[in-house]
Assembly symmetry: C2
Homo-oligomer: 472 residues x 2
């Protein structure tokens, strides 16, 4: 390790390598109290340095964990003592914006909010938005294929990345900085690095697709009395709003009560007695007529018997209040221990699935709280579950949430990824042949298994052990 | 080969294997006069049969070329005499439609138009649309990541496939029949089979994402007097139409004259003296007010000086006439020899690039015709070039079109793929490291190189030769 440290220092220059408490005094995640385990952090400033760092680690079989903003929720950036952290924190430059081509070129360590603000300054929008916006980086967004609130309109990160540059485990730089929406000249290599949690390469730069900035935002909050009406309402709004629908966020009754009752800050915009509520948003192009259009769509929904009560935000302040209510997920923390879930499944199976989960929680724990909410339009449900008396309850809650997904085509991770936390449950959503193919890719691109080893799935048996010996 | 034929017959039963003139009496492509070269075609009816067929071919190193509707334009489905064709023509069943989840499950041999019609019957839309709709298959669309006219709104095939099932070269069935918009549980394996032209596996089934059917279609045709105003007009329309913009098709002057002058069927809707014309379409949700909205957007474009003349279709008949004009690409065939191109590049470089191409054509051929049109919103340009006296001119035209793409981030294939036709020019758009990574994937998934060998790029040196020996 001493020789390798020397090499890494030479590659990255003064301040490039941090060791000991300079590393371990940092938190392992921005929402975690635990410290980083790894003793070494290397902070390259250029792609060439990333390449040299990986080549050196590859040569010695040194495990490397890439770090972005550490806002992940599945332990994908956690380290072990002997790991080298490859932090992109000094590669955070926006290299350029093309207003006409509607693209932005950035280094992977750029913080999402900086990208959003830069796009805004150019009259454009980078539509990815999520709670960690002030810390999470574009590289992290790419490696986890981040989703967020506007997927129904703009897709996930995968749909916003036109091109990228990545460094393979052996230091090879693969530059696929495509700037076009259409490019079918050979394999679309960027897909290898999107949503693969840093296990196949380290993303160093990206070309992002920007969108025209909406000229209006209409926000509705409605009450719905039966689950089956939710997807019908989604269909109606999607059809009526003609491409402008950007969010369709469902709140189960108990989640709504939680976030609209003191000590939560927001007050209930609608009576609290409906089983479901939906926050609906449209981003339009005509601030003169979009409100009338949203009202007409809502009128249709009333007439079709799909909603029982509704409010339309009459001001930007009201609009923000509705979102603040939906986003006040922290209220769940009043009932520790709390376990957060992020699953997806076909919408027609959702009602029965939630009942299955609650039945399982009741059987295991007797009493429990399950606050449910989600991006229904994407098939994505979140649970905030309070059960048991301490964190030892997690296994039982995991089982109650994940086991019923098997056989109904559900996913144990809609948007957060797998990391370490969901690894044991991957087989619920993926077949042995699928995992075998993932391993084939891993072996082909990272034959020594140095990149984020042990995350998502175990590499071929013994791989991690071999690597540790080599690193010693 | 005789042993293998026997095996393939046993796997697929009566009528499963065709040989000799039953194969070679078929055209090599629906727009080609040449016959198929291969002497053997196997037509499995199930995924299990596809698996057994590939396992048998893998064992003997037999090259296999998968066939869909043969509407491809780059020679990706062409065969050599010793190849086995794996035709999906007997796997053309629509397995189900989920109106609520907005998904359709199909076998790969299903014809696109059948999918479109089935979606329509359920009040939904499968947005992929292209000229070959009556022949091309979903499997072919997937293997080429087909684009078409509505990419600006709905994306390419990649964006319409939620899940798929593919059979690897060795017969392993990888079923990733995901039905959700969001699923980050492990690597997104379907990407390996989208746009890889049958070189990494054979797609057997897919889950398609359906959309709500538009309730209005507004079609505008406008004249623009400067190239730089085209992207500004695109930006304005995109912003003003609030997500409804579905097509932005640019016609260069000579292409417009060609398709609006006898013997072409359509008459010019606008005077023929403008350098550029644009066919703009919006698919909306409100047939009462969408037309007024399109008119207001057009008014803004006039005021901004972006258009000099315009017409809005006042009836469905007029709408179809405008599209018939745009789609009358066959008029180009009046000036043989004709060479068709499909490139993409950053929009800000497009005007200079077209000038470069024309300069190159003039230098090489003296006289030439270059009819240009394209999906400008996607950075995608098509050329129909008439130059030289016979097909021997192709090399010179290729050079004039492709060489200027190097160094400006252009792609030799926006939507058609690479196949055999563009293979020699792949290096214009992709670096040696990118092609090396493609080869790494090819070797990992198809170690004996039996799947569509020699297409897109050459496998490791000698691979095809080895295979031929094994197949003998």
């Amino acid at each position: 390790m001493a020789d390798l440290l020397q090499t890494l220092s030479e590659i990255t220059g003064p301040g490039g390598v941090l060791t000991g408490t300079d590393v371990t005094s940092r938190a392992a995640g921005i929402w975690m109290s635990e410290s980083i385990e790894a003793q070494t952090m290397v902070r390259p400033k250029t792609t060439a340095e990333v390449s040299a760092v990986l080549a050196a680690c590859h040569e010695t079989g040194q495990p490397v964990v890439a770090h972005g903003g550490l806002t992940g929720l599945v332990g994908s950036a956690l380290t072990e003592r002997g790991d080298v952290i490859l932090s992109l924190e000094r590669m955070n430059r926006i290299e350029g914006v093309d207003r006409v081509n509607r693209t932005m070129t950035v280094q992977a360590g750029t913080v999402l909010q900086a990208v959003q603000e830069c796009a805004d300054e150019h009259g454009l929008m980078y539509p990815l938005d999520l709670g960690g916006r002030g810390s999470c980086t574009i590289g992290g967004n790419i490696s986890t294929n981040a989703g967020g609130n506007r997927v129904i309109r703009y897709g996930m990160t995968r749909d916003m990345v036109l091109g990228l540059e990545a460094v393979l485990a052996d230091g090879t730089v693969v530059s696929s900085m495509n700037e076009m929406i259409k490019n079918n000249a050979g394999y679309d290599l960027k897909q290898l690095f999107i949503g693969t949690e840093g296990s196949l390469g380290v993303v160093t730069r990206a070309v992002l697709r920007l969108r025209e900035k909406p000229r209006s935002q209409e926000t509705l909050f409605v009450a719905v009395d039966e689950f089956d009406k939710l997807p019908e309402l989604l269909k109606l709004m999607d059809a009526r709003l003609g491409g402008a629908l950007s969010a369709f966020e469902v709140l189960w009754n108990n989640f709504y009560r939680l976030v609209s009752t003191p000590p939560a800050k927001q007050r209930p915009p609608l009576a609290q007695d409906s089983p479901y509520y939906v926050l609906i948003e449209a981003m339009g192009g005509d601030d003169q007529t979009d409100k009338a259009r949203a009202e007409a769509a809502l009128e249709d929904a009333y007439e079709a018997g799909l909603v029982t009560d509704a409010v339309i935000a009459q001001s930007e302040a009201q609009r923000l209040e509705l979102w603040a209510m939906r986003d006040d997920v922290e209220q769940i923390n009043r009932f520790p221990p709390i376990f957060i879930y992020d699953v997806s499944l076909p919408i027609p199976r959702m009602e029965a699935y939630v009942e299955d989960v609650n039945r399982g929680l009741a059987e295991t724990f007797g009493t429990y709280r399950n606050f449910a909410f989600g991006h229904l339009g994407d098939g994505n449900l979140h649970f905030g579950i309070s059960a048991g008396s301490d964190n030892s309850a997690k296994k039982g809650v995991d089982r109650a949430v994940y086991a019923p997904l098997a056989g109904i085509g559900g996913s144990v991770s809609a948007e957060h990824g797998v990391g370490l936390d969901k690894k044991a449950w991957l087989s619920v959503s993926r077949t042995a042949d699928e995992v075998a193919l993932m391993r084939t890719l891993k072996r082909a691109l990272d034959p020594r298994g140095i990149l984020n080893p042990g995350k998502i799935f175990d590499a071929a048996e013994g791989a991690r052990e071999d690597v540790d010996v080599a690193a010693g």
